[in-house]
C-alpha cells in the first residue's frame, strides 16, 4: 500500500496480510488463552486427580504454541513497523503512518505478551505439585 508501483503479485505473502484493530490484540489474546489454559489445566488436574505429571506434555505444548503465535504476529508487525519512508516520528494522517503505528503497537504488545507467557510458565517449573 505504501508503494503503489509494486503490484500485489510482487509482494511477499506476509506483506499482503492486513493489519487491523483485531490483529493488534492477537498477541495479548494468545497470552489470555494460554493463561486461562494454564489455570484450568492446573485446577482440573489438582481437583480431579490430585496431581499433575512431572513433565506435563500438554502444558509444554500449549506454552510453545502460545509463544509461536506471539512470535509470528510480532514478526509480521515488525515488518509493517519498518515500512521504509520518511524519518520518525511517524504521526501523520497517512495510510503508511497508520500502518506503522499499528505495527509498532502490535510489536510492543507481542513483547509484553511473550514476557507474560514466560511468567505464567515459570510456576510450573518451580512449584510442580498440587500442595
Amino acid at each position: 500500500m505504501s508503494d503503489p508501483e509494486r503490484s500485489e503479485q510482487h509482494r511477499k505473502w506476509h506483506q499482503q496480510l492486513r493489519i487491523t484493530l483485531w490483529t493488534l490484540i492477537i498477541p495479548p489474546t494468545a497470552w489470555a488463552a494460554h493463561f486461562l489454559f494454564s489455570y484450568l489445566w492446573a485446577a482440573i488436574s489438582c481437583a480431579k486427580t490430585g496431581r499433575f505429571a512431572t513433565f506435563p506434555v500438554l502444558f509444554v505444548g500449549g506454552t510453545v504454541m502460545a509463544l509461536l503465535v506471539i512470535l509470528f504476529s510480532g514478526w509480521l508487525a515488525w515488518h509493517k513497523e519498518r515500512t521504509p519512508g520518511d524519518p520518525p516520528p511517524h504521526e501523520d494522517s497517512t495510510e503508511v503512518d497508520r500502518l506503522r503505528f499499528l505495527g509498532k503497537a502490535t510489536l510492543l504488545l507481542a513483547g509484553l505478551s511473550f514476557v507474560g507467557v514466560v511468567f505464567t510458565a515459570l510456576p510450573v517449573i518451580f512449584i510442580g505439585d498440587c500442595q
Binding site: 484493530l21 482440573i44 504521526e91 497508520r98 503497537a105 505478551s113 514476557v115 511468567f119 510456576p123 510450573v124
Partner: protein
C-alpha cells in the same frame, strides 16, 4: 456548499441560527430534565458522582474518628460495619466508575469533533438509572439499613438471611441496576470512539484519552457481567434459597469470590486508566510538545487491560487454593507492573523532551504520580504471595489500595478538574486555592495512609470497629485520623473554590494553549458541540494545522449546517475514519428517564419482596423500551443522502456492520455472553469441587432428550432468522416475514423444551447446587428465547408498518446479531446440561 461559500458572513449567521435551534436545550422547570445533550447529561452525571464521593468521604471520616483511639465507642459495631461497606461500595460504584463515564460523556464528543455521542438518549437513560440506584443504595445508611458485609459481600455471611438483613439485597439489586447503566455507558463510549471520529482522524491520530476510553469501556464489557452473573446467583440464594454458596447443600462460597474478583480486579484498572488518560491529555499541553511514545501508551493501555483479567485470584491468596494456581496469578500480578511503568516513563520522557510550564493541574498530576508510584510498588509487594499471606486483609492492604486509588483516580481527577473546568464552564478555578488545597491533600493522604502500612504489618486486621490498647497501635491510628481530616480539609477547599466559580470572569478560549480538539469549545457555551466537523491531519490539530480554529468556526469543514433542523453527526470507518454516513441523533425526551424509573422499580420492589409491583414495573419497562425504539431508532430518512460540504454526499441511513446500531447490539451481546459464561463457569466450577457431580440421585437429570430437542429447535429458529434476513435483502418480503414468524415460534418452542428437561425430571433447585445451576442455565436460555421472540415480533411489526424494508433493514440486521448470540447460548447451555452429565 464549498470552502468559499463559507466566506459569506450572512450564510454563516443563518447556519449558526439553524444549528442553535436544532441543538437548543429544553427550557422550563420540568422540561429541562428531558435534555439528552452530552453537555447537560455529562454535567448532571459529574455533579451527582461528585456528591456521592463527598458523602462516602464523610462516612470515612466517621470511621477514622472511631479508630482515632483504641477501644473507642463513638459508633457501635453495626454502624461501623455499614460505614465501611458503604464507603467502599459508594466510592467504587457510585463515584469512580460513574465519574469516568460522566467525564467521558462530556469530553469525548469534544475530543472527537462530534456533535454528540451516537446514542444521547442512552446516556440520559444511564444517568437516570445511576441517580435512582445511587440514591437507593446510599440512602439506606440514613435508615440504619445499609449493607454491612464489606464491599465484596462474601457469602455465606451475606447470603444467610439470618445473618444479613435487607442491606445485602439493597447492595445486590441496587448496584446491579447501576451496573446495567455502566454497561449502557460502555456501549455508548465504544461506539463513539470507533464510529464517530472526524474525517482523517485515523487510529494513529486518536487523542490518547479516546484510546484509554475505548480500552476501559471494553474492559467494563468483560468485567461487569461476571459480577451481574454473581449478583443473580446471590439473589437467587437469598430470595429463592437456591444453594449456590451454601456448602451444606453442594454450594461453595468461593464461587462468589471468583465471580466477584473477575470483576473486582479489572475494576481497579477501569478506574485507574481514565485518570492516566487525563494525564495523557494535560502532560503534552504543559510540556508544549507532542506526547513521546504514543504507541507505547497504546501498548500500556491494551496490555494492562488484558493482564488485569489475569489477576483476580491475588485477592484469594489466603483461601487455600493449590499453590500452583496462586503462582500463575502472582506471576501475572507482577507482569502488570510493566505496562504501568511504561506509562510513567512515557510521561517522564515527554516532560524531559519538552519545556514544562508549571500550573495547578500539573502540580496535581505530579503529586498524584508520586502517590501512585508508592501504591504501585506496594502492589508489587502484595503480588508476592508469601508476603501477601501476612499483608492480606490488614491495614497494609488498606494503605496500598488507598495509595493506588487516591494517587491513581482521585488526585488525577482533581488535576482534570482544574484543567478542564474552563472547558466546561468557561472559567478558570483559583490557582491559589488550588495549590493550597493540593498541599492539604498531599500531606493528608500521606499522613493518613503511610502509617497504615505499619499498623497492618503490626497485626491490625482491616474492618475492625475497635482495637485493644495493648497492641500499641494507638499512635499510628491517631496519625491516620489526623491525616484523614487534613485530607478532608483539602477537599473542602476545592469545594469552596468550585462554589466561587460562578462569580469569576470568563477566561479566554483555550486558556492553556492546548493542541487537542476539545479546546475548540467556546467559553460561552454553544450546545452544538462543534461548529463544523474538521478534517484532521495531526494529533494536535490546534497546534499543527494552520488557521484551524478559524476554519472550524467559519464552518469551512464538514456539516456546517442543520438544514432540516435535525441533530446530526458524521459516522466514519473504524481504521481510517473515512466518512460513510450522517446519523440523526436522539432529541430531548422523557422516555429515557421514564424507562430508567420503570426499570428501577423492578430492582427496588424486588428488594422488598414486592413481586407483583416488580412484575408490573418489568412489563412497564418492556413497553417503554418498545415505545422508545419504535419512535426513536432506524428512522427512514426523507431522502437517501445529503451533502456535507466539499462535494461529499453521505447516506442518511446505514445498516449492518458499519452502522452504530449494529455495533451497539454486538457490544451489548458481548456483555451478555460474558455474563452467561460466568454462569457456565459456575456449572463447571461445581464439577471440579465435587467427586460426584451431578450427584448420584440426579445422575440422569435433566436427561438427553429435552435439552437436545431444545437445541435443535433453537438452532432452527436461528437459521430461519439468518435466512429471513438474506431473503428480505433480496426483496422477498413475504417469504422473509414467514421465516421470521417461524423463527419466533421456534424460539418459544425451544424455551419450552429447555425448561421441560429439569421440570419433568423433578429437579428441585433448593436441594443442591446441581439442580440449582441447571435451572439457572435453562432459565437464562429460555429468557433469551423469550427476548428473541419479542424482537422478532418487533421486526415483523416494523415490516408491516413499512418501517423496515429491504432498503432500510437495520432492525432486521440488528436482531440477527442477537440471534447469533442466542444460538451460541443455546448451543452451550444444552450441550452442557444435556450431554455433560452423561460424559462424566
Amino acid at each position: 456548499m464549498s470552502f468559499h461559500e463559507q466566506d459569506d458572513p450572512q450564510l454563516r449567521a443563518a447556519q449558526d441560527e439553524r444549528l442553535r435551534a436544532a441543538w437548543a436545550a429544553p427550557k422550563g422547570f420540568f422540561l429541562r430534565w428531558t435534555d439528552t445533550n452530552n453537555d447537560a447529561v455529562g454535567a448532571w452525571y459529574t455533579l451527582t458522582a461528585f456528591g456521592f464521593m463527598l458523602l462516602a468521604g464523610v462516612l470515612a471520616l466517621i470511621m477514622r474518628a472511631q479508630l482515632a483511639v483504641p477501644e473507642n465507642d463513638l459508633v457501635d459495631a453495626s454502624t461501623f460495619n455499614q460505614l465501611f461497606t458503604l464507603h467502599g461500595s459508594m466510592m467504587m460504584f457510585l463515584f469512580a466508575v460513574p465519574m469516568f463515564e460522566a467525564v467521558s460523556i462530556i469530553l469525548l464528543p469534544q475530543l472527537l469533533g462530534a456533535r454528540d455521542l451516537p446514542f444521547p438518549r442512552l446516556s440520559a437513560f444511564g444517568y437516570w438509572s445511576f441517580l435512582l440506584g445511587g440514591i437507593f443504595v446510599a440512602g439506606s445508611i440514613f435508615f440504619d439499613a445499609a449493607p454491612d458485609g464489606g464491599w465484596f459481600m462474601y457469602p455465606p455471611l451475606t447470603t444467610r438471611t439470618d445473618l444479613s438483613g435487607l442491606g445485602a439485597d439493597i447492595w445486590m439489586l441496587g448496584l446491579s441496576f447501576i451496573e446495567v447503566s455502566s454497561i449502557a455507558a460502555a456501549v455508548e463510549l465504544i461506539v463513539g470512539v470507533l464510529k464517530c471520529r472526524p474525517p482523517g482522524m485515523r487510529l494513529n491520530l486518536m487523542p490518547l484519552y479516546a484510546w484509554y476510553i475505548l480500552v476501559v469501556a471494553v474492559m467494563i464489557l468483560f468485567a461487569f457481567p461476571p459480577l451481574i452473573a454473581g449478583d443473580l446467583l446471590f439473589e437467587m440464594e437469598r430470595l429463592l434459597d437456591w444453594p449456590f454458596f451454601d456448602a451444606t447443600r453442594g454450594g461453595d462460597p468461593l464461587l462468589w469470590q471468583h465471580l466477584f474478583w473477575i470483576f473486582g480486579h479489572p475494576e481497579v484498572y477501569i478506574v485507574f486508566l481514565p485518570s492516566i488518560a487525563l494525564f495523557a491529555m494535560l502532560v503534552p499541553t504543559f510540556a508544549r510538545r507532542h506526547v513521546l511514545g504514543y504507541p507505547w501508551i497504546v501498548l500500556a493501555a491494551v496490555g494492562t487491560a488484558f493482564l488485569s483479567f489475569g489477576l483476580w485470584v491475588h485477592h484469594m491468596f489466603a483461601t487455600g487454593l493449590p499453590k500452583i494456581s496462586l503462582a500463575f496469578f502472582s506471576a501475572a500480578s507482577e507482569a502488570v507492573a510493566i505496562p504501568t511503568a511504561v506509562q510513567i516513563f512515557v510521561f517522564i520522557a515527554t516532560i524531559w523532551a519538552g519545556r514544562v510550564t508549571w500550573s495547578t493541574p500539573m502540580l496535581y498530576a505530579s503529586g498524584s504520580l508520586a502517590v501512585f508510584v508508592i501504591g504501585g510498588l506496594t502492589g508489587v509487594m502484595v503480588a508476592v504471595a508469601p508476603f501477601d499471606w501476612q499483608a492480606h486483609d490488614t491495614y497494609f492492604v488498606v494503605a496500598h489500595l488507598h495509595y493506588v486509588l487516591i494517587g491513581g483516580t482521585l488526585l488525577p481527577l482533581f488535576a482534570g478538574l482544574y484543567y478542564y473546568w474552563p472547558l466546561i464552564t468557561g472559567k478558570k478555578l483559583s490557582d491559589r486555592l488550588g495549590r493550597i488545597a493540593f498541599w492539604f491533600l498531599f500531606v493528608g493522604v500521606n499522613l493518613c495512609f503511610f502509617p497504615m502500612h505499619l499498623s497492618g504489618l503490626e497485626g491490625m486486621p482491616r474492618r475492625v470497629f475497635t482495637y485493644p490498647a495493648e497492641l500499641g497501635l494507638g499512635s499510628l491510628n491517631l496519625a491516620s485520623t489526623i491525616g484523614a481530616f487534613i485530607f478532608a480539609s483539602g477537599v473542602a477547599i476545592i469545594c469552596v473554590d468550585l462554589a466561587r466559580s460562578p462569580w469569576r470572569p470568563f477566561a479566554e478560549r483555550n486558556p492553556w494553549h492546548a493542541g487537542t480538539l476539545e479546546w475548540l469549545a467556546y467559553p460561552h457555551d454553544e450546545h452544538w458541540g462543534i461548529r463544523s466537523i474538521p478534517l484532521i491531519e495531526s494529533r494536535y490539530p490546534i497546534w499543527d494545522q494552520p488557521d484551524f480554529m478559524r476554519k472550524v468556526d467559519e464552518g469551512r469543514y464538514f456539516l456546517p449546517d442543520a438544514e432540516e433542523g435535525r441533530r446530526e453527526t458524521i459516522i466514519t470507518t473504524v481504521l481510517d475514519a473515512r466518512p460513510i454516513s450522517v446519523v440523526r441523533l436522539g432529541t430531548p425526551s422523557w422516555k429515557p428517564m421514564l424507562t430508567a424509573f420503570a426499570l428501577g422499580g423492578v430492582f427496588i420492589f424486588t428488594t422488598y419482596h414486592l413481586y407483583w409491583p416488580a412484575l408490573v414495573s418489568g412489563l412497564l419497562t418492556l413497553a417503554m423500551v418498545m415505545w422508545w425504539v419504535w419512535t426513536g431508532t432506524a428512522e427512514i430518512p426523507e431522502r437517501p443522502s445529503k451533502p456535507i460540504g466539499h462535494g461529499l454526499e453521505l447516506p442518511l441511513y446505514i445498516s449492518g456492520s458499519s452502522s452504530p446500531g449494529w455495533w451497539a447490539m454486538f457490544i451489548t451481546m458481548m456483555a451478555d455472553a460474558t455474563a452467561f459464561s460466568g454462569l457456565v463457569f459456575g456449572y463447571y466450577f461445581f464439577w471440579t469441587r465435587h467427586a460426584d457431580f451431578p450427584p448420584d440421585e440426579l445422575a440422569h437429570a435433566p436427561g438427553v432428550f429435552w435439552p437436545m430437542l431444545a437445541l435443535v429447535v433453537g438452532l432452527v429458529g436461528w437459521v430461519f432468522t439468518v435466512g429471513g434476513r438474506e431473503v428480505h435483502a433480496r426483496g422477498g418480503v413475504a417469504l422473509a416475514r414467514a421465516m421470521l414468524a417461524a423463527s419466533l415460534v421456534a424460539s418459544l418452542a425451544s424455551a419450552a423444551a429447555g425448561l421441560a428437561g429439569p421440570w419433568l425430571s423433578g429437579m428441585n433447585p433448593s436441594l443442591h447446587s446441581y439442580p440449582a445451576i441447571v435451572w439457572t442455565l435453562a432459565g437464562w436460555t429460555a429468557a433469551h428465547a423469550a427476548v428473541a421472540a419479542i424482537m422478532l415480533a418487533y421486526v415483523l411489526a416494523r415490516s408491516f408498518a413499512g418501517r423496515c424494508t429491504p432498503a432500510y433493514d437495520a432492525d432486521l440486521r440488528n436482531v440477527t446479531v442477537f440471534m447469533h448470540f442466542f444460538a451460541l447460548t443455546t448451543l452451550v447451555t444444552y450441550l452442557t446440561i444435556g450431554l455433560f452429565p452423561e460424559a462424566t
